[in-house]
């Protein structure tokens, strides 16, 4: 079963590894860079920053997005902020502390060397984004402001109101747009990746589908970078945007890229609870709200009084009670499970009793409404638009929802997948967050990969290919892959069943949420592994896709994405099944302490599970990368 994967971690003490890599890597001289073409798929933080930087360096870059504009990528929806070890507050932060917090937050399941590099370059990201004009929040003296976030005891989070992701993405988008204007980046919008082409064991290019004309087309390049985000929409209901999907990384997986830790999914504790059966997505309320909001439920399950009539001593501020030192800022996985338990115990609030309160009345009393409005005004407005309730007067109702996926394509230290020449960056890879991601670290990782890691590591791969011929799109493998893609889309159209792709997606999402969501058990996972293939068989027999493949057809696009979610869902459940421990976002009911906290098994599971495609999604092949901790010592995560 086990091939030990080599992450190619550089030699030397942890703090020197990145410098050692840079000292030893192969370079491409400036005049030769234009001889290399790099294809970048996805234009979120990782994709846009990589495209801009590689083009500035002189490479030929082509960037692909399925959106109408690169500025729409889902990075834009991140609200709270971006971490960096600047220690501007003088409160004891350092590169080592950010590194340690990230490893601990990830429940000791991330790779030390990658995380340390992430903490090192975090400081450069802030400098770069400020130079580009990102309007981060400032103090009256004109210096940058910081706030604190879950899982940390220092204030290291930089933010731009509740729209940090938007401002960072627009910064990276503008930097890439500059290169488009200069002719250094060729932009393909409304163009979706449908497959990866591998020739002689290395990635030779991609096949795309034009979403306006249906044209299936090949693109060859020296290297391909997938920056296509996470797979949280496997749950159907999630905070991800509607079009977020797993197809690019899944198609790469089917061509030989190993998929690592698919069961590590993050359920975000502060989302607006589901209100109805036809709900299309869930909306996140930034975790930053937990800085000032207090989470509670009534002590008594039968308490139907409106919140303001429930006296203090009949409320259970359960996070403050259970985790006194972190309180309402306990990490996401811990807060989410605590909310689930409160609701499962019958003490949920709201018309469907499916939420918990996030109450700002103390903060408004202490700070005044104006300060609360300054900090969270746009979030409060958003809440009111969606629920029709005013959170200045009535506590918010929140409940956990799928938000982020720590798993993704397995990559080595250089961000290369198991297919030479194919890279994965940002949420699409698995590398930095272990079993749980800390708040404000996704933006940091996307920009770190795109700005400060890939531009260094990619030359190490490219340099030996200088002046050597690479397969172009006339190679028969491109024609073969194109034909397979055309057949697949024709197949969806020809089923002629009765159910829409959305219907299947919703049913699939329910199974994955119920059995591979916040809590997993052997029994449930085995049940899911029976139900998903059965539903998948029905999908192949009873799917209905209207329209044709030669013009805009959103139903057809959706069918392809749902197909891939089915296959991924089976591997997610198998990954959750073989990981006989609880860690971070992966909570197995069989493995918990007497107090109901996650019980890790470091002796047997301090490894990455990376799955190889076997041709049958019910029988993936398991590989492992052992995680070696040289600096950090395992300890039980405690936020008490």
């Amino acid at each position: 079963m086990t091939v030990t994967l080599d992450a190619k971690i550089p030699a030397g003490p942890l703090a020197d590894k990145w410098d050692n890599f840079k000292a030893d890597e192969k370079l491409v001289n400036p005049a030769n860079k234009r001889k290399f073409k790099i294809l970048i798929v996805g234009t979120g933080l990782a994709g846009a920053s990589a495209a801009a930087t590689l083009a500035e360096l002189g490479y030929q870059v082509e960037a692909f997005t399925f959106h109408d504009s690169p500025r729409r990528a889902h990075s834009i929806a991140a609200q709270g902020g971006i971490n960096a070890a600047k220690n501007y507050k003088g409160d004891g932060d350092s590169i080592h502390r950010l590194f340690y917090d990230t490893i601990k937050g990830g429940d000791f399941r991330a790779r030390e060397a990658n995380v340390h590099r992430l903490a090192q370059v975090s400081v450069d990201i802030i400098d770069q984004m400020v130079a580009q004009g990102v309007p981060f929040a400032r103090e009256y003296g004109g210096l940058l402001d910081n706030r604190s976030f879950g899982g940390a005891q220092v204030s290291r989070t930089f933010y731009a109101r509740g729209q940090t992701g938007q401002q960072l993405l627009l910064g990276a988008y503008q930097q890439m747009a500059r290169q488009v204007g200069l002719g250094n980046v060729k932009l393909w919008n409304r163009t979706e990746l449908v497959d990866i082409v591998v020739v002689d064991g290395r990635c030779a290019g991609i096949v795309t589908r034009d979403l306006l004309t249906g044209e299936v087309r090949s693109h060859s390049g020296h290297a391909v970078v997938l920056c296509t985000g996470g797979y949280g929409n496997a749950f159907f209901l999630s905070t991800n945007a509607m079009a977020c999907n797993t197809s690019a990384i899944w198609r790469a997986h089917r061509r030989g890229a190993y998929f690592a830790n698919p069961c590590y999914t993050q359920i975000h504790p502060t989302c607006i609870p589901q209100s109805d059966e036809f709900q299309s997505k869930l909306t996140l309320m930034s975790e930053s709200l937990r800085n000032d909001g207090r989470v509670w439920v009534p002590k008594n399950a039968d308490d139907h009084r409106p919140p303001h009539q429930i006296p203090e001593d009949e409320r259970d501020y359960y996070l403050e009670r259970l985790y006194p030192s972190f309180g309402n800022l306990a990490p996401r996985d811990i807060s989410s499970r605590a909310a689930k338990r409160a609701v499962d115990s019958g003490r949920g609030v709201g018309p469907l009793k499916n939420g918990v309160y996030l109450d700002f009345s103390d903060a408004i009393g202490r700070l005044g409404k104006a300060v609360v409005e300054e900090r969270y005004g746009n979030l409060f407005e958003m809440y009111e638009r969606i629920t029709g309730e005013n959170p200045y007067d009535v506590p918010m109702r929140i409940y956990p929802a799928s938000h982020y996926t720590m798993g993704g394509l397995w990559v080595d230290y250089e961000l290369m997948t198991t297919i030479p020449g194919l890279y994965a960056a940002g949420e699409a890879n698995f590398s930095d967050h272990g079993a749980n991601r800390l708040g404000a670290s996704a933006l940091m990782q996307g920009l770190s990969d795109g700005y400060f890691v890939l531009p260094y590591t990619i030359s190490n791969y490219l340099a030996p290919w200088l002046n050597k011929p690479i397969p172009d799109t006339s190679h028969p493998e491109f024609a073969k892959v194109e034909a397979e893609a055309r057949d697949r889309f024709r197949q969806y159209l020809s089923v002629g069943g009765t159910r829409s792709p959305d219907w299947f997606h919703r049913e699939l999402g329910k199974i994955i949420w119920d059995y591979c969501g916040m809590e997993r058990s052997r029994e449930g996972l085995e049940k899911a592994l029976g139900e998903i293939p059965a539903l998948y068989a029905e999908f192949q027999k009873d799917l209905r896709v209207t329209g044709d493949a030669e013009s805009v057809n959103q139903t057809l696009e959706k069918a392809g994405r749902v197909d891939d979610f089915f296959q991924l869902g089976m591997v997610m459940c198998q990954d959750a099944l073989v990981r006989e421990e609880s860690c971070g976002g992966h909570f197995r009911v069989e493995h918990q302490t007497e107090e109901g906290e996650a019980l890790r098994n470091d002796d047997e599971f301090a490894h990455v599970t990376a799955w190889e495609w076997s041709g049958d999604p019910t029988r993936p092949i398991e590989h492992r990368e052992q995680l070696e901790y040289e600096v950090v010592k395992f300890q039980t995560r405690s936020y008490k």
Partner: protein, 258 residues
């Protein structure tokens, strides 16, 4: 608390492709919860149309949180519908009443050609940004972020302008089909900041002139501000016009030597 709206009539613009003449088609929504978002109501309609074997209504949408700017729609003649400061994706059915007839059209502007049904092509916005909507700062070599103190009011004003989501409601609402609010929001964001000064006049000139290639001219109707889901103030247009005038009158070569 949840109530159910009944007997809604939708008149939706259907157009098979850029060359098709297009027409309104009428659909009935017998009942829908007032907790549903406007786009979820269209999802319900589309699910029904697919079940009947007819093509669903094509419309652009993505984040459904009012931040990505993908969604559009003229709803009863108003860009993003009746709720001020709200993108279509965050409009909820509680803003409507049982028995209402709702007219749904795509953005109306010649610079945004219709692709299909309610989907339009807004790539002219990207061309404006590519012309100068950035600060030229290559990756690496940036000074420490706190070396450039920015007074809070300046940072706040830049952020107000930077909040633009690029949805195109300003253009759709404008009787002239002008993109001045969109362009000026980006010009203002960058031209207010110390980092943006080096390219201030080159930027405004390039962006305004690219904008003029695609869009109509501004005559200060103010419809854009009223339609903007981020409530960006029309004041940004004044700043852009002032900077453009300066850029045109000043000898920029001489200025760059100062």
């Amino acid at each position: 608390m949840t109530t159910t709206l009944t007997n809604l009539t939708l008149k939706i613009w259907r157009q098979d492709g850029p060359g098709d003449a297009g027409r309104f088609e009428t659909y009935q929504i017998p009942e829908i919860s007032d907790e549903a978002s406007f786009l979820e109501m269209l999802d319900v309609l589309n699910e029904r149309l697919i079940g009947e074997g007819t093509e669903p209504v094509t419309f652009d949408h993505d984040c459904r949180e009012g931040i990505c700017g993908t969604c559009s729609l003229m709803i009863d003649g108003q860009a993003h519908g009746p709720q001020r400061g709200t993108a279509t994706c965050q409009l909820h059915m509680r803003k409507f009443q049982s028995g209402d007839t709702i007219v749904i059209e795509p953005w109306r502007a010649s610079a945004f050609p219709i692709i299909k049904d309610l989907m339009v092509d807004r790539s002219a916005f990207d061309r404006i940004v590519e012309a100068g909507g950035y600060i030229s700062a290559d990756t690496g070599g940036a000074p420490d972020a706190n070396l450039i103190p920015i007074p809070k009011p300046v940072a706040d004003a830049a952020m107000d302008a930077a909040a633009c989501i690029g949805c195109g409601a300003c253009v759709a609402a404008c009787p002239n089909g002008a993109a001045n609010l969109f362009t000026a929001a980006k010009v203002t964001h960058l031209n207010l900041l110390p980092q943006g000064q080096a390219e201030r006049f080159k930027r405004v000139e390039a962006m305004v002139e690219t904008m003029d290639e695609y869009f109509g001219s501004c005559t200060n109707h103010g419809e854009c501000e009223a339609a903007c889901p981020k409530e960006i103030s029309i004041d940004v247009i004044a700043l852009m016009n002032a900077d453009y005038r300066k850029a045109k009158f000043k000898n920029r070569k001489a200025l760059s030597r100062i």
